[in-house]
């Protein structure tokens, strides 16, 4: 493949991926409002379009046209930069996430991801670990008590849970023996006794999945760990002072992060794009992996929203104690046991 | 392959006892402490007996290696244990007498402070002594050798708050060091020339060398150096001075360490190294001469001592001299035989003396005793057995062994050894019966000054916890726990010699046989085998009679002087004048040593080493440099501004200098 083709293909993929991602973000918001609405025994958005399907569009338009307020004592450069940082890092991490096998279109053989690197997981982790800057800086630069508290909480919480998150992944890495997301997915191909898929979650990584789930909720500042933006105590936490498109950026960043986390969960624990796909015509066979992938992400996001509609919020010291005194030891124990089993099996 | 005997357990068992008592004994009751101490030393005895029981079925000598200790090139030293007839005898003596004295000590030390400490030390001593006896190489033996010295030091200074006890401990330690120095050099010579310290290898190599009858060579040097070590440990001339002072320790210690076991280590070592001595007649001769002189010398001092324990101490030195005579004329088995019987009766003598001291409430001066035989009959009768044994009356144990030594001395050596030996035997008999009469017969002389002597006794233990406070109530027999060992030892003192030196010799001969004997060679040339027994038989009878006569005359003389005509000794003392003075003052040996060695040493180290070197050179250097440092620091301390950035500035400047220098070095 010549360098020109490479750049062309890459640009196409980036555009497509970004489009899909942003659409997904928009409709995750819609999904959340709908699902939470039904959980709370109401309808959710219904007015704009059928089933309120055009609601995200309307929201976007609203955000764009709202007045962009900047508080007078805010530290302006960072106040402006913070939401951008948050969104950029949230969107970037999708670039190394594969959504399917290699495909050949018009004689060009290319993977179904923006770029295929063999330390993909590390890159995702690195980028998500930078996402905390957006939140922290937003909280600080707003020069507001609520924001500062939210920012402090967010940075402490994210740094704390990042450790458990990373450790919960190490078990999977040991099983797959690679940092490449594609390799990890490939390691989960096949089934036990013909019907139990060899997903990591069924390979003894159940506890790891649980830890990942908890840590991921904390990393994305979602209920039950949404202390940084706890609206009943901090108004809206770190984005109290934000409005209009800047607020929208934080909002998009949060949902993009959710999707990234869902992608990672699917890739690492739920077998990625593997599923029963040995049927149908060739075109269906080519599309099916992507379909399974999307289904799993949808299930994961649904779980996210379900939890949000169900669980109350932690107290802050409970949150820290849970992360350091429960999740972290559990993650270490899981890691040790997994390593032992792998070592003994070898 | 014979089953493993686990020889290492024998020394280690007492060590465990020592460790338990030493570490936790403070919290234990006296009963627990004594149970532990007795239990572990008893276990060692049981093991020794078990080994003795199956002794005939063993192939000897037997070496059991535990682990390698040192390995350097070809040179290797193991923690290995060596069992043959010689070490078996020593093993039984040490564990048996040791256990008895342990039992005795329970009664003797019951009222003392530091009870657990005493038994911990005692067990520690057992450990080192058994290591010494069972070692299969000179280095391990040396460990035991040093270790018993340590235990001895600790026990002599057991009442460490008393100055005389503390300095006696130090004296024993230092004098022993002199001997150890010789021993060490002997070991170095062995390493250099034989490349090994293992008994088997050393003896094999030495066995291949010719006897140094013509001149003085390596073997003579080694032998003499070993003898220096032995003289230190076994209190021979000229290194005997520590033993009388060692009587500062508790009496059971004197019995166990300074009579029965430790001081005989030198004899054991000489016997163990007989291969070397057999090929070094000159060294052997030195051994014999030293032994003879010591025997006579100590005996004469013993005659005039008034402290009951001091008499026994000089008696011990004298008897050790006998053993060395035995070894010195290549009659090692006779020496070891005497060692064994001596362990019985001298241990008994000390224990009985302890019982006497116990009875009279801490008094040690015989002049303040007398007439005790009715008050303490058990002690009296056991002591009588021991006295007759040491004096050499048949059929007591001492007779057989002493006779064997004298006979061998006459046969293998010279009549001079024999003559002095007999004279010494006479002296021995005399002073022992003197002790006997003074202590047990006549009137009790302490009564009149009862309050005074208690006071004196208290004074003599100034500062130390008075050991026999409960003795105030008057003269009384010791408790049963102290009498049991006395009775057993008395039995051994009577019967211990019945085995006969011939049979003993035969039993030991595999261990002491070395092919070449310095004397046997000449002997065989001189006399035909056929005529030997008859000739020997005749003269042996004669000689035996003479020595019995010596013993009897000693008894008679003592009776005459101290029972019949008690005023006579004073007159004799006056008549002898300055000689008597010299003897009473132990020939001024301590004073001579103090003047010749100690004082110059102290003066030299005070003037030269302390004032000259330490104070004027070393201390001055330090003081001046410290002063200089302070002056420089006074100037420099202004750099210490407390400002972080200034420090960083200095670091950067310094780094620049270093970089510049390094680059200058690189481009030069």
């Amino acid at each position: 493949m010549s360098i020109g083709t490479f750049i062309l293909v890459s640009i196409i993929k980036i555009v497509v991926a970004l489009g899909v991602l942003l659409t997904a973000v928009a409709y995750t918001v819609w999904l959340e409002r709908k699902v939470v609405g039904h959980i709370q025994n109401r309808w959710g958005p219904t007015r704009v379009g059928p089933f309120g399907l055009l609601q995200p569009l309307a929201d976007g338009v609203k955000f764009i046209f709202k007045e962009d307020l900047i508080p007078p004592h805010a530290y302006k450069p960072l106040f402006i930069a913070a939401p951008m940082i948050a969104l950029i890092f949230a969107l970037t991490s999708i670039s190394v996430i594969p959504i399917g096998n290699w495909i050949t279109v018009f004689g060009i053989h290319t993977p179904l991801e923006i770029t295929d690197v063999n330390i993909g997981l590390l890159i995702v982790l690195g980028i998500t670990s930078l996402g905390v800057y957006g939140v922290a800086l937003a909280g600080w630069s707003s020069n507001s008590k609520y924001s500062l508290l939210g920012g402090l909480r967010a940075s402490a919480q994210m740094v704390s849970y990042e450790i458990s998150l990373g450790l919960s992944l190490v078990g999977v890495l040991i099983l797959a023996g690679s940092f490449s997301l594609r390799d990890i997915v490939d390691a989960q191909a096949g089934t036990y006794w013909g019907f139990i898929p060899r997903w990591n979650i069924f390979q003894g990584q159940f506890i790891a999945f649980f830890i990942y789930l908890m840590a991921a909720y904390a990393e994305t500042n979602r209920i039950p760990f949404d202390l940084p933006e706890a609206e009943t105590e901090l108004v809206a936490g770190y984005h109290t002072e934000y409005s209009a498109m800047k607020f929208a950026m934080f909002f998009m960043a949060e949902y993009a992060n959710m999707i990234t986390v869902a992608c990672l969960a699917t890739l690492l624990f739920l077998g990625g794009w593997h599923g029963p796909h040995r049927f149908g015509p060739p075109i269906v066979q080519a599309i099916l992996p992507v379909f399974w992938f999307a289904v799993k992400i949808f299930a994961f996001l649904f779980l996210y929203i379900w939890v949000r509609g169900t669980l109350p919020r932690f107290r802050y010291d409970q949150l820290m104690a849970f992360g350091w005194k429960f999740l972290l030891p559990l993650a270490i124990a899981n890691l040790v046991i997994t390593a032992l089993i792998v070592a003994l099996r070898a | 392959m014979t089953p493993n005997l686990h020889l290492w357990l024998i020394p280690v068992l007492p060590l465990v006892g020592a460790a338990i008592n030493g570490l936790f004994g403070k919290r234990f009751s006296r009963q627990t402490v004594s149970a532990i101490a007795l239990g572990f030393s008893g276990a060692a005895l049981v093991m020794a007996l078990w080994i003795a029981a199956q002794f005939s079925s063993l192939t000897l000598p037997r070496v059991e290696s535990l682990v390698t200790w040192i390995r350097a090139g070809d040179f290797q030293v193991d923690f290995a244990f060596y069992l043959d007839q010689l070490s078996l005898v020593m093993l039984l003596v040490v564990t048996g007498v040791g256990l008895l004295i342990h039992i005795y000590s329970v009664g003797y030390m019951w009222e003392e402070g530091g009870f657990y400490r005493f038994f911990s030390y005692l067990n520690l001593f057992m450990f080192f002594m058994l290591t010494l006896v069972l070692a299969s190489n000179y280095l391990l033996m040396f460990i035991g050798w040093e270790g018993v010295g340590l235990a001895s030091y600790l026990l002599i200074g057991f009442w460490f708050t008393k100055d005389s006890a503390a300095s006696a401990g130090k004296k024993a330690f230092i004098v022993n060091r002199i001997g150890d120095f010789g021993f060490l050099i002997a070991l170095f010579l062995m390493i250099k020339h034989f490349g090994s310290l293992n008994f088997e290898q050393v003896f094999r190599i030495v066995g291949g060398l010719p006897a140094e009858t013509a001149g003085v060579g390596l073997l003579t040097a080694i032998g003499l150096l070993l003898m220096v070590g032995a003289a230190g440990k076994s209190a021979q001339l000229p290194l005997y001075v520590w033993l009388p002072d060692a009587m500062e320790g508790p009496t059971p210690v004197s019995a166990l360490i300074h009579a029965a076991t430790m001081v005989t280590a030198g004899v054991y070592m000489v016997a163990r190294s007989h291969v070397v001595f057999d090929r070094a007649p000159q060294a052997l001769m030195v051994v014999a001469i030293v032994g003879t002189l010591t025997a006579l010398f100590a005996a004469t001092i013993g005659v005039c001592q008034t402290d009951i324990k001091k008499v026994l101490a000089y008696s011990t030195i004298s008897q050790l001299g006998y053993m060395f005579i035995g070894c010195g004329v290549a009659a090692y088995s006779a020496g070891i035989f005497h060692l064994m019987t001596h362990a019985f009766f001298k241990g008994l003598l000390f224990l009985a003396a302890g019982s006497v001291i116990h009875a009279v409430g801490g008094e040690q001066d015989m002049r303040r005793m007398g007439g005790l035989r009715h008050h303490i009959p058990w002690t009296f009768w056991t002591m009588t057995a021991a006295t007759f044994a040491i004096a050499g009356f048949p059929p007591f144990a001492g007779f057989f062994s002493k006779d064997a030594i004298l006979w061998k001395a006459y046969l293998n050596g010279s009549w001079v050894y024999w003559a002095i030996g007999v004279f010494t035997a006479f002296l021995t008999s005399f002073y022992m019966f003197r002790l006997w009469f003074l202590t047990f017969f006549g009137e009790y002389r302490g009564e009149a000054a009862a309050s005074e002597h208690v006071h004196l006794a208290g004074g003599s233990r100034a500062g130390a916890p008075a050991p026999h406070e409960h003795g105030h109530g008057g003269i009384h027999e010791s408790p049963t726990v102290m009498l049991i060992p006395l009775v057993i030892l008395a039995g051994l003192s009577i019967c211990g010699g019945w085995v006969g030196s011939e049979r003993f010799d035969k039993f030991l001969s595999p261990a002491l046989h070395s092919g070449v004997t310095a004397y046997s060679a000449e002997q065989e040339a001189a006399s035909t085998p056929a005529s030997e027994p008859r000739e020997h038989g005749a003269s042996e009878g004669l000689l035996t009679s003479i020595s019995i006569l010596a013993a009897v005359s000693g008894l008679f003389l003592a009776w005459l002087l101290y029972q019949r005509r008690p005023q006579l000794p004073q007159e004799i003392a006056h008549a002898l004048g300055s000689f008597y003075e010299a003897v009473v003052h132990k020939y001024y040996v301590d004073e001579i040593y103090a003047a010749v060695f100690v004082k110059p040493l102290i003066d030299g180290s005070t003037r030269v080493l302390w004032h000259g070197i330490d104070r004027d050179v070393i201390d001055a250097t330090l003081d001046n440099s410290a002063e200089g440092a302070r002056e420089v620091s006074d100037a420099m301390r202004h750099m210490q501004s407390g400002n972080l950035r200034s420090y960083a500035g200095w670091i950067a400047a310094g780094a620049a200098v270093v970089i510049t220098y390094m680059i200058w070095l690189g481009t030069r």
Binding site: S129, Y133 | R645, A655
Partner: protein, 173 residues
């Protein structure tokens, strides 16, 4: 050529970040400049092939250590730097010393080691190999460092906790 271009671009970003760290008076700006330096250094590592080092650089340095810095700045609400003149020594000796040292070193480096070229991705350090080295050849240093980290954790907890707060916790608990 591309290599040199990328190197130069990120090297310049790097130096710019470092200089900005010095120039900025507000610690948070300095911290963010340092993050930029670290990010561009990660790219330089990638250029040299050390992908794992680059990833760890981002995760640990930029993602954890610098977050800690920002956190502390926020916590203490550190304001702009005061321009006190506390140290003449730093100016009189430190700065010249630093200049002399760095000029000398730069001269030596350019003069004496300029011949060897480093290819793009010269030495890939795949995680597997790195891990193998860490757990075999460098096991002892690894363990020692882990102990160091443990001590550091405890030290940080002890230092940062309010004096007397432990007793309070106990009473409450």
């Amino acid at each position: 050529m591309l290599h040199l271009l990328v190197f130069s671009v990120f090297g310049l970003v790097c130096v710019a970040g470092a200089v900005n760290l010095l120039v900025q008076r507000h610690p948070i700006n300095s911290a963010l400049s340092l993050v930029v330096v670290m990010g561009s250094l990660a790219v330089e590592y990638l250029l040299l092939g050390a992908e794992f080092v680059a990833a760890v650089q981002v995760i640990v340095y930029a993602g954890a250590i610098m977050v800690l810095f920002v956190f502390v700045i926020m916590l203490l609400n550190a304001g702009e730097e005061e321009r006190t003149k506390g140290s003449r020594v730093a100016m009189l000796f430190g700065i010249p010393g630093m200049l002399i040292g760095s000029v000398l070193v730069a001269w030596v480096l350019l003069e004496h080691s300029g011949t060897g070229n480093v290819a793009t991705g010269a030495l890939p350090g795949p995680p597997k190999v790195i891990g193998w080295l860490l757990f075999h050849d460098f096991l002892l240093p690894f363990e020692v460092t882990s102990v160091l980290v443990l001590i550091a954790i405890m030290g940080a907890v002890v230092l940062a906790s309010h004096p007397g707060s432990t007793q309070q916790d106990k009473r409450e608990g």
